[in-house]
């Protein structure tokens, strides 16, 4: 039985809503005012699109993974091992010019792996001033040595500047290699490659599942917000928005709890008995051996240089 207000195109005269929304009516004027309000994005909109956009871009980007480049051609276990060797080497380097060479090498690797060099440099240096810079600044003033400049009564020493540059460069070079690994390797391949360090398979499975379900929850959050938007005619005030967000957080918690039970059931159903078995499908090629050999050679070279110095 159709309610009397539920009118179709055929029997619709002037609908109550239509009358109240006509431009001449006072309600119509308030609607126009609401439209102006709606042009400014609500806090929910900004927060949700900010969080989901950042996570999808930062974690799920596969733009460069599919490209045909140097690092993409190296088998994940060897790539991880080589990059970790480079990072260990960077941590023991003492000379600024060697650190600069490592950084330059990472940029060359980015170029050889078809990664946009500007995008790569920007990605690395976006967080360096924030994290490494803030830590390094006190060293400029606090390290004893030969003063080169006075700043509001504090002496900036040559040794202080050198220590700060060394620190920032070390962080930048290390971050560059990690970014190279992330941009050229699928997340699940990185996870599998971790097994080379004897990390338990169940731990790796949980990490990969977390990654997979973060995406699902992000999509659910987006869908819920779009569903709200599609039914929002009057605009939303902050209080309503907060109420909606609180309700949805509760719903998501329930949903993820139910999903986790179903996932566990699906695993048990296919024979999971607490012990995880995974397929190791990586095969090493000549290039992989050369890559690891090169990284190891550099490590030994830096060790010898340090020993001499």
């Amino acid at each position: 039985m159709r309610p009397s207000w539920f009118k179709t195109e055929e029997d619709r005269g002037q609908r109550t809503e239509d009358r109240s929304l006509s431009p001449a009516s006072s309600a119509g004027q308030s609607l126009q005012a609401v439209s102006r309000e709606q042009r400014g994005r609500s806090f929910i909109d900004k927060t949700l699109s900010g969080i989901t956009g950042f996570l999808k871009d930062a974690i799920f980007t596969s733009e460069w993974i599919r490209k045909n480049g140097f690092l993409q051609g190296i088998e994940p276990k060897s790539k991880l091992l080589g990059i970790l060797l480079f990072i260990i080497t960077i941590s023991i380097v003492k000379e600024i010019y060697i650190l600069l060479s490592f950084y330059a090498f990472s940029v060359i690797l980015a170029g050889a792996s078809s990664i946009g060099i500007i995008a790569f440099i920007r990605r690395v240096w976006l967080f360096i001033p924030l994290f490494a810079g803030l830590i390094a600044i006190p060293a400029v003033f606090l390290t004893h040595g030969e003063p080169i400049l006075f700043f509001f009564g504090f002496a900036i020493t040559k040794q202080g500047v050198s220590a700060a540059i060394t620190f920032v460069l070390r962080v930048a070079a290390s971050v560059s290699f990690i970014v190279l690994l992330i941009l050229t390797t699928k997340w699940d391949h990185i996870m599998k490659a971790l097994r080379v360090f004897r990390i338990p398979a169940v731990f790796i499975l949980i990490l990969s599942m977390t990654y997979r379900y973060i995406y699902l929850l992000l999509s659910t959050i987006e869908d819920m917000y779009f569903a709200l938007l599609s039914r929002t005619i009057k605009g939303q005030n902050r209080k309503d928005g907060q109420k909606w967000a609180a309700g949805r957080i509760g719903f998501l918690f329930q949903k993820s709890r139910r999903l986790s039970e179903d996932v566990y059931d699906a695993m048990v159903s296919r024979g999971f008995d607490g012990e995880v078995r995974v397929m190791d499908s990586f095969r090493m090629k000549a290039l992989d051996y050369i890559w690891i050999g090169f990284a190891f050679g550099i490590f030994i070279g830096v060790q010898i240089e340090n020993f001499r110095g």
Partner: protein
């Protein structure tokens, strides 16, 4: 030989929410049967019970496997351990209604290999089974993709492939055609007919009546009281309009034929 025998099975979810009440049925090895019912009538819960994932509060389910030493074993937490658990998991597979619950691995290939890996099959055989399943479901192009990159229809195909690699004797399918386009639905039906021809038992829970004549010789109809309202040959069940209407499986559908409106019962 009866592969499953459920006797007066009752189940309630926490909070005393009744999901099944006094359900009794028997399934012979090699049969194909359908469990019909509207949303929320307990079909999914019953399939989970048959798959030994949850256990009845009242009544019992017994399982027997041909060509094995296990006959009339009561499904319970105690029985589903060790050797019998491995045998049961290799013989009975469940397709979940929500493919996101079933696809937990990081890539399609890993997902399809998960079952045979847990059963400790040799590496070469696992690789062969994965290749065959990918080809059978025509999803070779998806093998390196992550489940989150797939459409709902693709997810369902991957979920089905992940069951086939286990090579079970019994396939429990919960709404297998939900989200599939007409061509994929047809391919799935053909696959199920072929699997049944190869001796596999197929138990499908659905409310999609138009696929039932092909995927089931017998039907059990669940009603809104979460009980079996009727059982019988597929033809007899599908022609009982009063029963189907009472169990919310059909509705009167009106549409236009040559400028004239006409109404008839509609079942999907």
């Amino acid at each position: 030989m009866k592969i499953f025998e459920a006797k007066e099975v009752g189940y309630s979810y926490p909070g005393n929410i009744k999901a099944l009440h006094g359900v009794s049925l028997a399934v012979d090895a090699g049969e194909k049967i359908a469990i019909l019912g509207a949303n929320g009538c307990g079909k999914s819960t019953f399939l989970k019970i048959l798959n030994g994932l949850i256990f009845p509060n009242t009544g019992e389910v017994n399982v027997s496997f041909p060509r094995s030493a296990w006959e009339c074993v009561k499904l319970s937490e105690e029985s589903l351990k060790g050797v019998f658990n491995r045998l049961f998991r290799s013989r009975v597979a469940l397709l979940f209604q929500n493919p996101d619950a079933q696809l937990f691995s990081a890539s399609v290939r890993d997902e399809i290999a998960f079952g045979p890996l847990q059963l400790d099959l040799p590496q070469d055989e696992i690789i062969q089974r994965v290749e065959d399943a990918l080809m059978l479901l025509r999803i070779e192009h998806l093998q390196e993709r992550s489940p989150y990159e797939l459409s709902i229809g693709e997810k369902r195909k991957v979920a089905i492939a992940s069951l086939l690699t286990v090579n079970p004797d019994v396939l429990l399918l919960d709404e297998p055609t939900a989200g599939l386009d007409p061509r994929s639905t047809r391919e799935l039906i053909d696959l199920l007919i072929e699997a049944n021809g190869a001796g596999k038992t197929i138990i499908t829970a659905t409310h999609d009546l138009h696929i039932v004549p092909e995927i089931a010789d017998r039907c059990y109809v669940f009603n809104e009281e979460k009980m079996i309202a009727s059982e019988g040959k597929t033809e007899a069940i599908l022609s009982d309009m009063a029963l189907l209407k009472e169990c919310n499986l059909i509705h009167i559908h009106s549409h236009k034929h040559n400028e004239a409106w006409h109404s008839h019962p509609h079942g999907h």
